[in-house]
Amino acid sequence: MAEYGTAVHEASRKAMSAWYDRLAAAAKSGAPTAYLMISGNCVEILRAFDIEPVFPEVNALQLAIRKQSLPLILKAEEMGYSSDNCAYVKADAGFTFGEGAPGVGKIPKPNFIVCNFVGCNVYIKWFEHCSEFLGVPLTMIDVPFVRSDRPSDGDVRYVVSQLKKLIADCEKATGKKFDIDKLRGICALSAKAEDGWQRCKDLCKNTPSPMDAYFDAINLMGPINVLRGTQDAVDFFDVAVREYETLVKEKKGPIPIEKFRIVVEGPPPYPFYRQFRDLFAAWNAVAVQSTYSTVGGIWEFGFRHDPKNPLESIAEQMLMENLCNRSLLDRYKQIRRYVEEWKADALVIHSVKSCRLFSAGQGDMRDYFANELGVPTLLVESDLEDPRYYAQAMMKNRIDAFFESLEHRKLLRGAQ
């Protein structure tokens, strides 16, 4: 019999700590490392040169979840960062340009910085600052924002030409010659993990959903975004798929009785992850889909890295197959599919001050879903990194009021 979450959580933790260990070892040995952003990343190329990727976003996330972010944010604000700047950057800047934080392992100074500018403009600032403060060269990969249904051939050509430049930079940094067959192998491993991702997400269409696709998606996001292209990631998804398939058979999920199925939009308030989660659990609400889980990539609709066309498929993922590089209107479409195909009762928008990529215009999103489509929609505000913007009592009131009325609606509908 499966116990919800244990095996997946444990497997994710193990795979991610192995990565941390590799980073700590690299910090000691000087083995090559590079900074990279999560969204639509090209980690496959770094792997082709055995360059270990370092993700400052994961660092920021860890700092927030361990409740270590505030002093670092304040330190960054002393350096001149504004209280209105993205706090993910500030926590990382306070950490990296300062003296780190207690109990957090050493993160190596990278050999170079790869800025995959995929959607978020703050990425550029963040990595420019890293380059400037750490004195490390930066390679920019300018990924045109999606402006039509598909990226144009010109867009793909432009990104591929930059990937080729990145390959040349990697050759220089490592002294290794680029091996396209090695990259093909890595892309094949990526595709296998992506199969697993889609399977996990698809399983959430079941009632009850075997996974909370918002609060527990984090277990999947580490392996898919950070470890993609390795056997570790493939093995992790084998464990995850097995567990969720078993849970579906046993009709089990994250809470004993699934009462509400929700789709969640926006990143979670990491400093208050547990408290926030409990507010939904109290109503037996389970997230069956979330947009945040797709910041790195969207695989549930079928995209795969292609060993036959490795560079083009990497470019395609960067351009199109992730949430960040798509327009807000494309996000509405994505959420709409989630609501319809995953049979959700409601949409919850968690609007975070730090991340304007996500939040700017979410009031319009609420208008669209609530007024135009008639999907019950709740919008609450706080932050993903800065604990100063989270107010538990207010949050509880809003969430309780929303589910009360949702319950009422359900009752009425049941009575009809």
Partner: protein
């Protein structure tokens, strides 16, 4: 101590008064023009020539300052979003953009990008375009990319207007816009040499008026202003020369600029309406005008907080401008909540401190209307520089 901009330069200018009237009338008269339908250009830079060549009039869609009460836009954009995004949207929601054929937004920041989507959904009658301007060094691939991007925009405009845009029309538009561009460069150069001759609160409306006029009318306005400025016999006062940086998107109220001058500053360079003064040279009028425009953007564009350009890092460029204008200090003037400007402050500040250049942060909002606090801060700053 109350010193108005007029007192700083010693006399009024008819052209400046005219420019002020144009600016304060807002978009309404522009939208009623019969010669060419208006097409909104959200900051910072737009390829105005391409829009012009489509038979449209590029106009700045640059917020509405204090001239509008936010009734609806607050429900779409949260409290932590800059004002220009909200007032621009509010104009539309209050049906004050009727007659505007469409609007273009660019890859300057996350807010502008999402705003393009919100415009598209809320104003389906408008042609909404989004241009991804490259965030990369100039190179053959980048140039090809940008040419393709401009051609894509042209195809969209052609479909909208039903009118072909040929290269000759783009070339003619380049010629047209080179005139006001050249004049603005001249006025800026004149002011940086002799700031007592042209007030910052005078130059600002002159430039801003260009965001609401066809290029030939703007050029005429600038020409008459230039004549008036040249005829002046100004007297240099004991003031601090400053470069103002950070107001490239949302625009400050003119009262704030008057306040800076009143508090004892000569503004010798600024980035107000930066997109409309984007190039350091004319755009070459040679063959293949679309490529010329793309190349000019890559090679002769401003260093801007909304553009990554390793060939001309912004912090180095700021120091260069300080040195070239002989400025004594930098006033860093970001719009409230402006993410790109606020992030850059960290790098600017570090560089200015390395170079021993004094600086002051003056945050603003387009709709602010009391300037007492700013006046006090700037006065103290100026005094510390004058009497140190």
């Amino acid at each position: 101590m109350e010193i108005s901009a007029t007192a700083v330069v010693g006399r009024t200018s008819q052209a400046v008064e005219q420019a002020k009237a144009i600016v304060s009338a807002g978009l309404a008269p522009v939208l009623k023009r019969s010669d060419a339908p208006a097409f909104g250009c959200f900051p910072v830079y737009s390829p105005y020539e391409i829009i012009r060549a489509a038979g449209l009039l590029p106009v700045g869609l640059m917020g509405a300052g204090a001239s509008i009460d936010i009734v609806h836009a607050d429900a779409r954009f949260q409290s932590f979003v800059c004002s220009i995004a909200k007032t621009s949207l509010e104009l539309g929601l209050q049906k004050r953009l009727t007659g505007m054929e469409g609007a273009v937004f660019h890859s300057i920041c996350d807010v502008a990008r999402n705003l393009a989507s919100v415009f598209k959904r809320n104003f389906p009658a408008m042609h909404i375009e989004y241009i991804h301007l490259p965030q990369n060094a100039a190179g053959p691939e980048t140039e090809d990319y940008l040419v393709t991007e401009y051609r894509r925009v042209m195809t969209g405009l052609e479909a909208r207007t039903g009118r072909r845009i040929d290269d000759a029309a783009v070339a003619a538009a380049i010629r047209e816009y080179n005139r006001p561009r050249r004049l603005m460069r001249e006025l800026y150069a004149m002011r940086s040499k002799e700031p007592e001759r042209i007030g910052a609160a005078e130059l600002f409306p002159l430039v801003r008026a260009g965001t609401m006029l066809p290029p030939d009318e703007h050029a005429r306005l600038l020409e008459s202003a230039k004549e008036e400025f040249v005829a002046r016999k100004p007297r240099r006062m004991d003031r601090v020369k400053v470069v103002v940086e950070g107001a490239f998107c949302e625009q400050p109220p003119v009262g704030l600029i008057e306040t800076l001058e009143g508090a004892g500053c000569y503004v010798v360079d600024d980035d107000f309406c930066a997109g409309w003064r984007w190039f350091s040279t004319d755009v070459p009028e040679g063959p293949d005008p679309v490529r010329q425009l793309a190349r000019a953007w890559l090679e002769h564009g401003r260093a801007s907080s909304t553009r990554y350009n390793p060939d001309n890092p912004r912090h180095k460029d700021l120091v260069r401008r300080v040195r070239e204008t002989g400025a004594q200090a930098v006033l860093f003037m970001p719009a409230k909540f402006c993410e790109p400007a606020l992030f850059d402050y960290v790098i600017f500040r570090r560089e200015l401190e390395k170079e021993n250049i004094p600086h002051l942060m003056v945050e603003f909002e387009e709709k602010m209307w009391t300037f007492e606090r700013t006046r006090g801060e700037v006065e103290t700053f100026v005094e510390s520089l004058l009497f140190d």
